[in-house]
Amino acid sequence: MTREMHISEPDLRVLAEDLVRGGTRLIGPARPPGKDGAVVYREVKGLDEIVLVGDPPARSLKEFFLPPTEVLFTYRQKQGDVELAPAPHVFPPQVVLGARPCDAAAVSVVDKVMDWDYHDELWFGRRQATTIVSVACSGGDASCFCTAVGLAPDVAKGSDVLLVPVEGGFHAEILTEKGEVFVAAHATRFAAGGRSEAAMAYRAAARGKAEANLRTDPAKIRAFLESSFEHPIWEGIALRCHGCGACAFVCPTCHCFDIVDEAESVATGARRRNWDTCQTAKFTLHGSGHNPRKGQDCRIRQRLMHKFAIYPGRFQEILCTGCGRCVRICPGGMDLLEMLDRIGREPAAPGEAGRGAP
């Protein structure tokens, strides 16, 4: 159902102004106001703040759908009785303008687990309220490897509208019904457009750049992971890991969470959902003191298995978009490209086949 159009940069600027004036929350990759800090997705007031093309923002779009902490409900106790009140969750319309396509794709990958038999209303409430307008990436930096996990700098997955930079504006692909509604609401800003040679050239160049960083076969990686639960590779990889979990927090697809109570007084408080990470020992620690994942090697293995074997086996999606954030942030210099490259070259251990397979 893809429809192709064109929007000039001045028109995109007016469109952004219209959105903000109309009360829509506008989110885009931007530097902190008045500062030189790292680009992150944040609420902005206009197009001039948004860094439409560039390296992936320091943090992903995840926080706009699964906030680092959120109230699930509040409680009030009185004389042995308890009253619960659902958190007043309202999801006002928001538009992400300038999402990197990998970050848009990530959100649609996580949709699968959030809808697995039990529909997570908090996640999908925000999903439904959000229109994602991505801008095709120029190919990222040396840590990017989207093409190695089946995506691309111009991937359409998860985006409602995909903009591709061309001279003076953007070639626009309207990808979803939500995208159609968005374009219809701003119809005067868009012009008819068709096949664009310039857009195709931009996309091809970006793909080439990302492909050069890592070429590997996800099927081979999965086969290795499913057959190599016990393997000397894990201990070696884990030596550089501090177990800090930074990789998981910046990851656009890591979605593990904790549920905790936060008392405000003796009688009142809230139950919250907070981001968590499989990289800490406490994540799996039993009340008895027993811990099924004793060492950091077990935790690294779990992270890779979840992303490249378990999730694909369960949901037919790789739980990684190749955004490279974990590589950029790791204080120990852990490099997922290196790991995947190495794993992709290891032969799957035949003796152990089936051990990790679904």
Partner: protein, 279 residues
């Protein structure tokens, strides 16, 4: 769903507290919403998330049987923050409950067969649920053998039911305590549970075994059962991993490809032998 979100529990009232041992307690809980109390249903082996508001949530199996309507029971040992808070509660106090979650013991599949229950310590809680369920439908099963043990006489849980089962003619009950755990008047066996299974020699023909207890007990009980002729797919157990959501989202309970909360907690020995050793 309750209150418009998956993670908001139903309110339950504590109707009865039983101290099973010095550190293990059973709570009998009733839904405060009479409609829910009447309609609540579950299957043997399923679990729930129990909460004390202000302290948090904890995962336990439902220790009572689905055939006994109108209430549910959980048994717990004080080991952490939530269980410590649970011990402070009194009859009449309010808790939270989410569930039932997870799969269950395939009782229908066991109809017409003999049942062998093997439990150690607090592992009797999930097994007790199946025992009660099976005894409530006693005419649908052949022989029922229960072999349960604890470190000491004082550590045996559900003593009132052990007496009840011991008195039944249609149940063969073997009780045991670890060597040194016996008291002067102890009339049961002395020895580790696997050794008593070997002594009891329950028949494996047309029979299923349900085994729960500490990992070390399961490790040594499985080969004994295999030796008696029980195939791995006729032996059921439950796995307990740390959980938070109970509904397959929070990513905590993976054992290799398995989500214990969704694919379990009930597994056959054959399934468990196919998993990586991460439980």
């Amino acid at each position: 769903m309750n209150g418009g979100n998956l993670y908001q529990p139903h309110l339950v009232r504590i109707d009865e507290i039983v101290d099973e041992t010095v550190d293990t307690r059973t709570l009998k809980l009733t839904f405060k919403d009479p409609m829910l109390a009447a309609s609540f249903d579950f299957k043997a082996g399923q679990f729930g998330e129990y909460s004390v508001f202000g302290s948090g949530e904890c995962t336990f199996c439902i220790a009572s049987a689905p055939t006994r309507k109108g209430y549910l029971e959980c048994s717990f040992k004080k080991v952490g923050r939530v269980t410590a808070a649970m011990r402070e509660l009194n009859v009449g106090d309010t808790m939270g409950f989410r569930g039932p979650y997870g799969n269950s013991f395939p009782l229908e599949k066991m109809y017409g067969k003999s049942l062998v229950f093997v439990a150690g310590g607090i592992g009797l809680a999930p097994v007790r649920c199946v025992i009660q369920n099976a005894l409530d439908l006693r005419d649908r099963f052949k022989d029922v053998t229960i072999i349960c043990g604890a470190r000491s006489v004082g550590d045996l849980v559900y003593k009132r039911e052990l007496d009840e089962w011991a008195a039944r003619k249609d149940v063969k009950l073997w009780q045991t305590v670890d060597p040194g755990g016996e008291t002067g008047g102890w009339r049961g066996e002395i020895g580790f549970v696997p050794a008593i299974v070997e002594k009891a020699r329950p028949g494996a023909i047309d029979a299923f075994a349900v085994v729960c207890g500490p990992p070390i007990m399961i490790k040594f009980a499985l080969p004994v059962l295999n030796g008696l002729g029980f195939k791995d797919d006729a032996i059921y157990t439950t796995l307990e991993n740390r959980m938070k959501c109970g509904i397959g989202k929070c990513g905590r309970c993976n054992i290799g490809p398995v989500y214990v909360c969704k694919d379990g907690p009930v597994f056959t020995a054959a399934e468990i032998k196919g998993l990586p050793p991460e439980f």
